[in-house]
């Protein structure tokens, strides 16, 4: 008895429970554990401690290369990040935190764009974040066409020498065809006015979301392309394990993590830290 634990069915049941509880999908969990059993055999892992370490390693690898988590910066002119996602997941708050950090820490000239022209007090909410960040802010009347707001914002950004345009959009369920079409239109306007695709299209995801995150990602990727995930509310008890599935099956990396409601509550995504918390 080494005190490091036996490798047996009970150990693998413990792993399975941890992964499922973290919202890792059944398919991904089965695949990870099958690969792990194979690794135990091929690598002659000696005890539970070694298997646990191997699991940690394979999960971290599944989340992608270190470079994947960096936010892209345009070679010249303003960079544009488009924030998209379903209702209430944390788009506006995440964008506000990003504006705050880019302005205060990175010394950039930032413009926040109120692309949500639908929901009650959406622009007012973003306006408060622009005040906190001390950055530029563009809004139009409620019910105006969001694509028109984005068009005007890009012209203004070029005129005002803005480094970073952060575009907020209305929450929309991915199964609503008319709303996804509206998003496509916003994407087309960005592309036309920038002369290239947005530098980042961030899909905001609530860490408490279960398997539906896969459906969300599929539809948003199809509509406007997704370059990264902003995983919000990771300060709760949900572990957000579905992002492992999203990386493995759809190739989308997590780029930012939200850990609270204050301006400073934002972190770059670090796979090791994420997997550590997941397996705890």
């Amino acid at each position: 008895v080494t005190g490091r634990g036996r490798i047996d069915d009970e150990l693998f049941e413990e792993f399975e429970a941890a992964l499922l509880a973290a919202d890792v999908s059944v398919t991904t969990t089965d695949k990870i554990l099958d690969d792990l059993r194979e690794a135990v055999r091929l690598e002659r892992l000696p005890d539970a401690k070694a298997v646990r370490e191997r699991l940690r390693q394979s999960l971290t690898e599944a989340l992608g290369e270190a470079g994947d988590t960096r936010l892209k910066v345009a070679p010249s002119g303003p960079s544009l990040y488009l924030m998209v996602g379903v209702n209430g997941v944390g788009k506006t708050t995440t964008l506000g935190k990003m504006a705050y950090r880019a302005t205060h820490t990175d010394g950039k000239k930032v413009m926040l764009v109120a692309g949500d022209t639908f929901r009650a007090a959406a622009a007012d909410q973003l306006a408060i974040w622009a005040q906190r960040a001390g950055c530029d802010f563009i809004r139009q009347q409620e019910r105006s066409d969001p694509a028109a707001v984005v068009f005007d914002a890009i012209q203004a950004a070029k005129a005002r020498d803005i480094d970073l345009i952060l575009v907020d959009t209305a929450g929309r369920l991915h199964n609503k065809a008319n709303l996804m079409e509206e998003l496509r239109k916003i994407g087309r306007v960005c592309e036309r006015e920038l002369g290239r695709k947005p530098d980042e299209v961030l899909l905001a995801l609530d860490a408490t979301t279960g398997q539906n995150a896969v459906r969300q990602a599929q539809e948003f990727i199809g509509a406007v392309g997704v370059t990264g995930i902003a995983l919000a509310k990771l300060d709760g008890t949900a572990r957000g394990g579905i992002v492992i599935t999203l990386r493995e099956e759809l190739g989308v990396p997590v780029k930012i993590v939200g850990v609270g409601e204050q301006p400073a509550d934002i972190r770059p995504f670090v796979p090791q830290v994420f997997i550590e918390a997941l397996l705890d």
Binding site: A21, G88, V89, T208, G210, T237
Partner: protein
């Protein structure tokens, strides 16, 4: 769908009169996967599958059904019983509790972004239609523009909004009830700030709002796309403030909604309504049979 998967699994067993334990185990593995993919909590799935197995063991295959259909029927029946709480009249479960003497106080609570403020407006509209005179209360004074959001919602549903700039949520709630009594508003709808169940200070604040207003309804508002965490959230809120029911929101999405089973079975309180859109009329009573069919895909 699960029904199709079970059909396929059982196709080779046609003509059997009794379900053997081996047959049942094959079927239950499919059921387990389907429920996990529908976001039912994995411990709840374990108990659920165990109960279905007990029912299925030793039962003869019903006339006209093959074993796959038989198992589906057991699963559906078990799920329906769970979601309706074996209520004599399932429709009864979604009725709101009103105070014997007005005003009735309804407190909405839940995680950030679940849909509380939107629900507050929907409830006000529904109650107005039922001949009541509700008032909306802005107890969220921390989220940027939260009060303004509720005020706009109030305008949309022609309901007064009680708000105190820079106030304290517990005092606002208490003062709102006094205002309602003085102004003959017979329902007080308290919209509270989204909070984490692990935030000690904010959970204490919620308990403070409860003690100050003695709500007749305490509704935990839960996003239908919530995954495994639903059980933890529901248990923590329930143990802190003893909820009277749940409202599942964003059911107009395509999430299977397994969180409904998880919270109903672990906390044992009824799901009263479902939110089915962003507009103020997008509120429906909870129908257990519709939810069961949806979860089973």
């Amino acid at each position: 769908s699960l029904a199709e998967k079970l059909q396929a699994a059982f196709d080779k067993l046609r003509g059997n009169v009794k379900l053997t334990e081996a047959d049942i185990d094959v079927a239950l593995k499919e059921v387990r996967t389907a429920l996990l993919e529908a976001d039912v909590n994995f411990r709840v799935v374990k108990d659920f599958v165990g109960r279905v197995k007990e029912r299925a063991l030793g039962e003869s295959v019903l006339e006209g059904l093959n074993p796959g259909q038989q198992v589906i029927k057991f699963v559906y029946d078990e799920m329906l019983a769970l979601l309706s709480g074996d209520a004599e009249n399932p429709g009864q479960a979604s009725a709101l509790n009103f105070a014997p003497k007005p005003p009735t106080v309804i407190m909405l609570c839940g995680l950030q972004g679940a849909g509380k403020t939107t629900l507050a407006g929907k409830l006000a509209k529904l109650l107005t239609k039922q001949g009541k005179t509700p008032v909306l209360v802005a107890c969220d004074i921390q989220r940027p523009a939260a009060v303004k959001q509720l005020q706009i919602v109030g305008e949309q549903v022609k309901t007064p909004v009680f708000a105190v700039p820079g106030g304290d949520p517990v005092r606002i709630a208490r003062d709102a009830v006094e205002w309602a009594e003085a102004n003959k508003a017979d329902v007080v709808i308290l919209d509270t700030a989204g909070r984490l169940h692990i935030d000690g200070d904010l959970m204490t604040q919620l308990q403070g709002i409860k003690s100050a207003t003695h709500p007749h309804e305490i509704l935990l508002v839960l996003d239908a796309m919530t995954g495994q965490d639903a059980v933890t959230v529901a248990k923590e809120f329930d143990s802190a403030i003893d909820v009277t029911g749940f409202v599942l929101t964003k059911v107009d999405g395509d999430t299977r909604g397994g969180a409904a089973i998880s919270v109903r079975s672990v906390v044992g309180k009824p799901i009263k309504f479902v939110g089915v859109g962003e507009k103020m009329d997008a509120l429906e009573p909870f129908y257990p049979d519709r939810m069961a069919s949806r979860i089973l895909g």
